[in-house]
């Protein structure tokens, strides 16, 4: 029995592209040789995350017991290594007291969700489901 595996020009596996794209924004597209797309995705997602942190937005943590916080944590995980870096350096742990900081929380959350969208796009490109 043989399994038909769709390949792409770069030879990167879809799962590797997905994981790379999740861990580092734009890395999935970079593996596939899509330099311009990778650069734009990386700059957009990292800038959005950084602006969110600079606005003193909240980086969600697990085990707070609040359902909305748990959802926020699940979303934030989409940022991959950026989330790990933020937790490691203690970013986004101050209480949100002003409207602009609440915007920051949304910037961080949306950056993480966009990173998932970008990683899935890299997977689709690698598997041949999306035209390169």
């Amino acid at each position: 029995m043989t399994t038909k595996v769709q390949t792409n020009a770069s030879g990167a596996s879809p799962v590797v592209a997905l994981l790379a794209g999740w861990l580092v924004p734009g890395a999935g597209h970079l593996l596939l040789g899509k330099w311009v797309r990778a650069g734009l995705l990386m700059v957009s997602i990292v800038a959005m995350f950084a602006i969110g942190v600079a606005l003193q937005g909240k980086v969600y943590t697990p085990n707070t017991g609040e359902p909305l916080d748990m959802l926020g944590f699940a979303g934030d995980l989409g940022a991959g290594l950026l989330y790990g870096l933020a937790r490691l350096l203690g970013w986004g742990q101050a209480p949100v007291l002003v409207a602009v900081a609440d915007y920051g929380t949304k910037f961080i959350e949306v950056a993480a969700l966009l990173n998932i969208v970008a990683a899935v796009d890299a997977h689709s490109l690698a598997s041949g489901r999306k035209r390169p």
Binding site: L40, L41, A47, M48
Partner: protein, 58 residues
């Protein structure tokens, strides 16, 4: 860091539109067009909603 509410809208819309354009379309020309459409809808929608709230208040 502090930014105005409108600057926040512009930045938010810009970054989302770039990612949407790249991920939701296959050809570069269509990516740019879709990204521009998303940006216009985000910013236009926010301005329209702001005026609607102003009108409701007054």
């Amino acid at each position: 860091m502090t930014i105005s509410h409108f600057s926040a809208v512009l930045l938010f819309s810009l970054f989302i539109s770039i990612v949407f354009g790249i991920t939701q379309r296959s050809e570069p020309k269509k990516m740019v067009r879709f990204g521009a459409l998303c940006f216009a809808l985000f910013v236009g929608g926010t301005i329209a909603a702001s005026w609607a709230m102003w009108l409701i208040k007054h």
